[in-house]
Symmetry: C2
Subunit: 366 residues, 2 copies
């Protein structure tokens, strides 16, 4: 391949056009040796939350990596999130990928590179945040890489296990399946839209609502318990975490499963804090709810027949989810309101700009 | 813990004093759930190349993460290493940790964050380098995280498997064991010492020697085959890769195994290119050989009785190693020459400064 002039594609384009030549055909590969049977059931070409290894009875291994933006983390730069908070977020982001596979986390590896300006107390706070999140989600920080760098860099890798055949992929949604989400989305996106402009809105968002917005970043919850219930039968025919935003998540499941989706607008839960920020910014609340927002809910599909049993299992554990639509034959994702259809509102995460600039930009990109 | 004033400890201090409260007591933990037995045999507290999981018969899982410095990579900044080269190096660095455990790699996860300045061609080259290294070392790039950032950031996680009981740790060296290394060390360190000052030494290093120095960075070899032979009985009672430099590696095995080491100076192989750079810089060749240098040889110990069989197994596969000393009762690491002992020469990797500044500094730090 020759590039006569410099080309700067966005991330989806790079992943689809440039990376695939190196990653295609992995899934199904026998990657064992020395008489050890290891099957790479889902490799990079599967484009799921994690890679999946079948390592023989009685378990399947899942593993995924996530980088989080340190100094680009505007709320951290503004002093609204502490070093502890970003450590916590790093662990939650990685463990969320394990949850999305329906697996139980068995460990986190963390890469923590710090600049000279980060003193021992700050460094310890990052580690303490990671430790607390691992504890909260029932796992351990088993290693990684610690050292200096010219700036703060945080990345992680989480490992999990589940029973063979129980892993939740993105590609199993079938027409007629119900589309569900474990809770309200958009809080984290609303927070990064609001706080940098806070001064111009002085006093118009009450303190308790501001705190709710911040808490969504400070103590995100990886939906491990929910993922484990969903993998039981497995109930879920497809599953993905909403860390790219609800709209992007629905579109990714749609593409992986080769279906369409009809989302019932009034059934998508909108958080009062998100609504308040949206109104302040003159944006549609549903659009802000579905836009790029790094929250860690699970979006999934289940067969309609499984709804009562799945609901009962959730309720028994004090968990909840919302049915927000259904899968259709292939034909795009539509939002439906009073019989009228439109494309899903919101700005999907493109990875090419920061979430801040995307949200601040107002109208969706073409 | 309170820090009344800002304290900036170096990395070893942080790892020992600040991190241990979060990581101690992990090894031996039952980390399974839902009836799946997963034992964290070696966690972060074990301070080995990788974490080790026993996941039931018939295999043990090892996993480790490494970050590599992108823009701080002086030879890349100077245009001597290509984007392909640093991708290759990233994969080799991570797979080297799997090799050091005596395991077979089953996959690599790569975190690639690129700045806007890196065009599609450069991005593709990074991916191509990773792909080539994975191919060369018999594994696959199974996933990770791709996206933009304000600068180039490269990190990875490698996974490997070996038979239960065959994993090579750092803590098993016993007094009387022979200390060995799979090849010449110090080439990568010599390259970063030499090239930034190249103009002032114009013409004094022949082109083929310069190429040899550069090739050590461009195509490092993770010693997967060597590690697998060493894990056979297992032959090796301890093993670690030399990515921190030979001196640091010997000292780390020493501390983990609670032994001392006597290194026979004339038995440590010194590469002619390292010797030439050392003489040019008025540094002792052995010191440059043993200093911070990110090469990926394996340093290991074996029982003297196992030497002939281990040597035969290496030879049969076209592999080699050098016996450079022996483990002693606890009492530090000494270099011995003509009956005289001294502390090991060289500058150990401290992670607090870059390898460049350490080597350029000349005399070892106190």
């Amino acid at each position: 391949m020759n590039f006569p002039e410099s080309v700067y594609s966005d991330e989806p384009t790079r992943v689809q056009q440039l990376v695939s030549e190196f990653l295609s055909g992995q899934s199904g590969a026998d990657v064992g040796a020395d008489g050890l049977d290891v099957l790479l059931t889902a490799g990079a070409d599967a484009k799921d939350d994690c890679a999946v290894y079948d390592i023989g009875s009685p378990m399947t291994l899942v593993v995924g990596s996530d980088y989080i933006r340190g100094p680009k983390f505007i709320l951290h730069e503004m002093g609204l999130l502490s070093d502890f908070d970003i450590g916590y977020y790093l662990a939650a982001a990685n463990i969320s990928d394990i949850a999305a596979m329906g697996a139980t986390p068995i460990g986190l590896l963390s890469v923590i590179r710090y600049p000279h300006e980060l003193d021992d107390s700050g460094f310890r706070q990052v580690m303490a945040g990671i430790h607390q999140a691992c504890t909260d989600f029932g796992t351990l920080n088993v290693g990684g890489d610690i050292g200096n760098a010219e700036r703060l860099i945080l990345a992680g890798t989480a490992l999990g296990v589940c029973r063979p055949g129980k892993v939740l992929r993105r590609d199993g949604a079938r027409p007629g399946d119900l589309l569900c989400v474990t809770g309200v989305c958009g809080l984290l996106g609303a927070a990064v839209a609001y706080f940098p402009k806070r001064d111009s809105f002085a006093g118009r968002i009450p303190a308790d609502v501001e705190q709710r917005l911040l808490d969504s970043w400070k103590r995100p919850r990886a939906r491990v318990a929910e993922g484990r219930v969903l993998s039981r039968l497995p109930y879920a025919t497809s599953c993905q975490d909403t860390s790219d935003g609800l709209k992007a998540t629905i579109e990714q499941i749609m593409q992986a499963s080769n279906v369409g989706f009809r989302v019932i607008e009034q059934d998508v839960p909108v958080d009062p804090a998100v609504r308040m920020v949206a109104e302040l910014m003159n944006v549609e609340p549903l659009a802000l709810t579905m836009s790029a927002s790094s929250d860690f809910h699970l979006a999934f599909t289940i067969a309609a027949d499984d709804l009562p049993a799945c609901r009962a299992d959730f309720t028994e554990q004090g968990l909840d989810f919302h049915v927000i639509g259904e899968a259709t034959e292939k034909g795009g994702a539509q939002a439906v309101h009073n019989g009228n259809s439109r494309p899903l509102p919101g700005v999907a995460w493109k990875h090419q700009k920061s979430d801040i600039s995307l949200l601040a930009a107002g109208p969706p990109e073409a």
